[in-house]
Amino acid sequence: MKELADLGSDLKDHSPENIYSVPAGYFEGLADQILNRIKAWNATDAKDELSYLSPMLSNVSKEMPYAVPAGFFQDLGDDILKNISAHEDYLRKESFGREEIEVLSPLLSSLKNKNPYSTPAGYFEKLETGIVRQRADSPKESFATFGEKKQTKVISITKRRWYRLAVAAAVIGIIVIGGLLFNKPQVNPVDNPQAWIEKNVKKVNKDKIDEFVTLANDDSNEKADSQSEAVKKAEIKELMKDVPEKEIEAFLNDAIALESNTDTDGSMNE
């Protein structure tokens, strides 16, 4: 209080009373309570544990106040097995609708086929024709009668085994031949002119070749003739360069005369 006064605090005027309350007898029983809790914590037996925790509860009867229908436990096993069977039938989807509902609820089972709803008179008879008319209007539909679809006979072209094998062989052959042709080595006319010529000559028609050869021969003969004539003229000129021109004229005149005599009787050399 002196300290508060020295500090000049207003708290020095307040009485330091405790405003909180404590349950009556709290401290008297606190030590025993804590000790009992320690014992309960260390207890192995449930009864001992409860006796330390709550002597009151340990004295309350554990008999349940709830009632159980008579014979409940006697029939429980059979009821459970029946339900398991019904459950397994549901899982297996074996006569689910009939058996399970009969087991679970005979009342609902009896009501199953009783339909409370009604339909207009002749509804189902008109329904068919109505739908057929509707389908006839639709260009995509081609049903002859409602509910009947004409089955087109399908003849499989691949049914026969030999046919399939032949097709497969043909396809393989095409692939192989194509591969060979594609991969055939090309003959270079520069590197191997003879092979190139031989290869390409084979492609040319035989008549064309003969014609070419003939023409080639004519050309070469003409050339040879022209060439040999030119040589002869050069030789004659060389031989006659020393012979006087008068003697050549005289020779030519004698040759002409001689030729004309031969033509007349036509038998000079026979």
Binding site: R37, A40, W41, T44, A46, K47, E49, L50, L53, S54, M56, L57, V60, S61, K62, E63, M64, P65, Y66, A67, V68, P69, F72, F73, L76, G77, D79, I80, L81, N83, I84, H87
Partner: protein, 184 residues
């Protein structure tokens, strides 16, 4: 030998034999039906609800027992299946009611009070009402320990919670229920 006298391991062997499967299953039901029923009934209060949940539990047992690995006691596994099924049921109840958790719990309290034998002055009815004040999981812990005296080790396998947490939860639950009874 009558199947009812067989141990859990022997019953499992019989269950896995197609010839004796149904008999073994019936024996298992007879052996544990009341324990499982009351475990469920204490949670859901209403007999019809308890019966529905119990039926579902038994179907799950029938389907799952074949693959039970026996890494825990059979009854531990049965309780685990029942507890999970019960929690699923209560969850579905909440969704159907489309109300908050507290409203569903007051619904269970109302079911207790609606029981034809209910007597608010009797300690055993006050106890039931006190139990319903607990959160779901704490309720299960209390009931397994208080009514079934299940060891914490087994309970931890059932609820997949540590033993220490379960012990603490149980001790708090006892305190709460005691306080409820004293005040009502």
């Amino acid at each position: 030998m009558a199947l009812t006298t067989l141990s859990d391991s022997e019953l499992l062997v019989e269950f896995r034999n197609p010839v004796t499967k149904e008999k073994a299953f019936t024996s298992i039901i007879k052996k544990y039906q009341e324990k499982l029923y009351w475990h469920l009934r204490r949670m859901v209060v209403d007999h019809d609800d308890a019966n529905d949940v119990l039926q579902n539990v038994m179907i799950r047992i029938w389907n799952g027992l074949e693959n039970f690995r026996e890494d825990s006691q059979l009854y531990t596994w049965l309780y685990r299946v029942a507890t999970n099924e019960c929690l699923t049921f209560l969850e579905q109840q909440k969704k159907r009611a489309a109300v908050s958790l507290s409203d569903v719990e007051s619904g269970l309290e109302n079911k207790i009070k609606a029981d034809r034998d209910f007597d608010g002055n009797k300690l055993e009815w006050k106890l039931q009402l006190g139990i319903q004040q607990l959160p779901e999981k704490q309720r299960i812990v209390f009931q397994l320990r208080y009514y079934d005296e299940m060891p914490y080790e087994e309970m931890s396998r059932v609820l997949e919670t540590s033993e220490g947490a379960l012990k603490a939860s149980y001790h708090h639950a006892v305190k709460k229920i005691e306080d409820y009874i004293r005040n009502h």
